[in-house]
């Protein structure tokens, strides 16, 4: 089984990536990078990462979130986060990245925020 499974769905002009697994150095980080790069190539610039199923992330995974955020911003799009687990929220708090990312508890709230 893959370290990180990513399912893609569309909500208007927003692409939601439902992620399940771990975003760690190697396979998990690469899977996230590939998914975001492919969406940007397809012109999909508004991306919501649903992290409800992500039980673990390391510094490489956090770095990949940051890289995705800067790559999408550079293209004039937006990256937002949905359903952080408590552990992930704690990690983004201590690294001060919650001051950078927009993170939402509910999908409707997150989707509305893109408008």
């Amino acid at each position: 089984m893959a370290e990180l499974n990513i399912r893609e769905r569309q909500a208007g002009d927003i692409t939601v990536l439902d992620m399940d697994g771990r975003i760690t150095i190697g396979e998990g980080s690469v899977a996230l990078r590939s998914a975001v790069r492919r969406l940007l190539e397809e012109g999909k610039k508004n991306i919501l990462l649903n992290l409800a199923g992500v039980g673990y992330i390391d510094s490489s995974g956090i770095g990949e979130l940051v890289s995705s955020y800067t790559a999408i911003n550079k293209e004039g799009g937006q990256l937002k986060l949905l359903s952080l687990t408590q552990k992930l929220r704690d990690l983004l708090t201590i690294t001060k990245l919650l001051t950078v990312f927009d993170a939402y508890e509910t999908e409707s709230e997150a989707l509305t925020s893109f408008k």
């Binding site: 390391d58 510094s59 940051v66």
Partner: protein, 137 residues
């Protein structure tokens, strides 16, 4: 809890980080750490082993990374040793500084320091760097 030690020798490829993570999970439980401490220790070991493989040994598979877990009763001491050219933690900028906040790397050492009670790096006379970490519980 009686004092006990486990030693692990890993090749310098990224897939082996998971092996260290699995070993630390088992050892932490047998040493009696709680769930929160176990999460932080696991994170610190993953980051230290990754640094040793990537930055220390430059992913040279002829070089190994050694991980030593010591259960000290009310604390867990972990050493991660590489065979690299040496490392100065003072040279790593603060990743929470606004000028660094959007850098994609440089958070591993910050996380190690965040989750462990004591952390020190030292070069060994025979070469390579050791990071020694201590978590009290």
């Amino acid at each position: 809890m009686t004092e006990q030690t486990t030693r692990l020798v890993l090749p310098s490829h990224i897939e082996a980080v998971g092996e260290a993570a699995a070993a630390v999970t088992d050892f932490v439980q047998s040493c009696g750490a709680g769930e929160d401490a176990a999460f932080g220790i696991g994170m610190a070991v993953r980051e230290a082993v990754t640094n040793a493989m990537v930055h220390g040994n430059q992913e040279d598979e002829t070089k190994s990374v050694e991980v030593i877990f010591n259960c000290l009763g009310n604390a867990l001491e972990i050493e991660v040793r590489d065979q690299g050219e040496g490392f100065d933690p003072k040279g790593v900028p603060d990743p929470t500084d606004p000028v660094n906040i959007l850098k994609p790397s440089g958070r591993g050492i910050f996380l190690i320091r965040s989750f462990m009670d004591e952390v020190e790096w030292f070069g060994r006379p025979e070469g390579g760097t050791t990071v020694r970490m201590l978590k009290k519980f």
